[in-house]
């Protein structure tokens, strides 16, 4: 079983990438479990054709954690992808990070963490220990950073690299960086910028997902691109990503940049 996690700045297209990745992997005949780890609980929505599935934390809140079964939390979506949403507290109260920990403990107890590939789709920034849960021992061994060529997005990716570097120092840790996925925003020199960033943090750009209108159109139809336009170039890009990730055996311990390095590095590219 391969367990991977996608991290990146909020709004960068993690959930779109994750859902299309899962759909493409499922298209290869693999058994996929996608777990949305964001209180906004919209990670699996396109796989579920627009349906908001009950979140693990909503169920815990309503019933307590004793009376929950696998069937209550795992929902089958497009192409057999099994979908889970962790959910979270109401905005502005409580502790979403602890919610992620509680969700993982419940999924463990229900023995729900299985399949050929588990895809964890995690909140934009690793704001606290709870959101680093998928990086801990026994969960995702490979982390993929999703970023565009925008500086704020690179900045967030660099921060996540710090979390990976920190956690990988732990004795039994198996968490490593699998690579950087460039989810393009059509910025000039973007591909090279992300590629160089990946190189400098001791990783590599493993995929380039071009910007395409078809992603928005598919989303309006409440579908992944893989389902809505399986013959499109965009679907091919996701399928290539899926094959690369599934076959990836090269991972690394990242060497995040400090702020000065990051800024001078950005200047080199922005001035071009």
């Amino acid at each position: 079983m391969k367990q991977i996690a996608l991290y990146g700045k909020g709004g960068i297209g993690k959930s779109t990438t994750a859902a299309n990745l899962s759909a493409a992997l499922a298209g290869e005949g693999l058994d996929i479990l996608q777990i949305g780890c964001d209180p906004k609980h919209d990670s699996t929505r396109m796989l579920m054709h627009g349906t908001w599935i009950p979140t693990v934390l909503d169920l815990i809140r309503e019933r307590g954690d004793e009376n929950i079964t696998v069937a209550d939390v795992v929902y089958e979506g497009f192409c057999g992808v099994r979908c889970v949403e962790a959910g979270g507290p109401e905005p502005g109260i409580g502790c979403a990070g602890r919610g992620i920990i509680a969700t993982f403990q419940l999924l463990e107890r229900l023995d729900a963490l299985k399949g050929d590939v588990i895809v964890y789709d995690v909140l934009g920034d690793v704001v606290c220990g709870g959101f680093a849960m998928p990086m801990r021992e026994g969960y995702a061994q490979e982390i993929y950073l999703v970023t565009s060529g925008e500086l704020m997005s690179i900045y967030a990716a660099n921060n996540i690299a710090k979390a990976i570097a920190r956690l990988s120092r732990r004795v039994r840790s198996r968490c490593t960086l699998g690579g950087v996925i460039c989810n393009a925003k059509n910025i000039e020199g973007e591909r090279e910028f992300v590629e160089e960033f990946a190189r400098r943090i001791n990783s590599r750009r493993i995929a380039y997902i071009p910007r395409s209108r078809i992603v928005q159109v598919a989303e309006l139809q409440k579908q992944t691109v893989i389902e809505y336009a399986p013959e499109s170039d965009q679907a091919a890009a996701y399928q290539e990503l899926a094959r690369t990730v599934y076959g990836n055996e090269t991972t690394s311990i990242p060497t995040p940049l400090d702020m000065d390095e990051l800024e001078s590095f950005a200047l080199e590219f922005v001035q071009v």
């Binding site: 815990i60 809140r61 954690d65 109260i93 409580g94 979403a96 602890r98």
Partner: protein, 356 residues
Amino acid sequence: MNSNPSPLNSSRFEGCTLTGALSVLTEVQDAVCVIHGPAGCTHHNFSLLHATHLANDRLEVPRLLSSCLRENDIIFGGEDALEETIARALSLSPASVFVLSTCIVETIGDDVAAVCAKSRDVPVIPVPTAGFLGGVFETGVRNALSAVASLARPMGGQKTLSANLIGEKNLEYGVDENAAEIVRLLSRLGIGVNLRFVRGLGTRDIDRLGSAAVNILREPALWPVGDDLKQRLGTPYVDSFPAGLTGTCRFLEEVGRVCGIDATDAIGEEKAHQAEMLAAFDDIAGSRVCFRSPHPMFRGDPGAEAMCMGCADALDLVIDPDGTAIPLPYPVPVGTAGIRRMLNRWRVLVREKQRE
């Protein structure tokens, strides 16, 4: 904290902010304290307060309620649980409710003050007491004293020739003896005690906190409370209970100065009283002694050594490293009566050494 079982070491100065605050707030006898956090925070403090009360021959049970937070309250926010616990507290018909926070609720950002601010028939007062923010027992004491002071009638009331005792250490052995010594000293100046703030009070008593002419702080560390009360109620303060022979006379002088009373006669009387007290220890005069730290695990009170040297001087004791080892007192004894109790212990040690 106290590896020495002697009752003298049953004072508790370091430790949890919450415990410090409760040592004050449970002395408002018609109040209920709500502790917003996991049940263990309440249980631990209940046990400690109850055991300390029993050791001081007090049978009452501290009135504590816990919001009993569990993991789900932490994930989804604990404010509803707090609301319910305040309602439960109010159903016991208290005259006031104090709501204390704990580490976990401050971490997740429960807005305790906002929940307390809802309009109710009795005052519901938030007291910030999360220990992880760097505070110790003393911080809790200070926060609690300021919280209770918010119930006092605001400035403008008539001052009477009386004093408040501020921040007595309710968990220390001898708290009432120390207060009695202050009462005795103040009576030399014709000053009575208005309030022991906070020990054995009712909520309505707090109303008259501002009518004293002077506040007497238990120790200098309480100066922020002294300043706070001065600003709120216009009451000047003396920053510590008296320590040492000359310190006790200085205390009379300072209280006199603050209250506009000539303390010359009072000081003369007290000096005579001290001489009489010291005369009772003639039998150990000239003995060889040395002072040592009260306990190897323990940093002593910085003022203790100077105070002891003063007493050794007055008794013509000789300081000699081979003399009777005398532990420095912790806490420093209060007033002349405190010194008499301390000298009784010295006498026991000197006699023991002589018998060897």
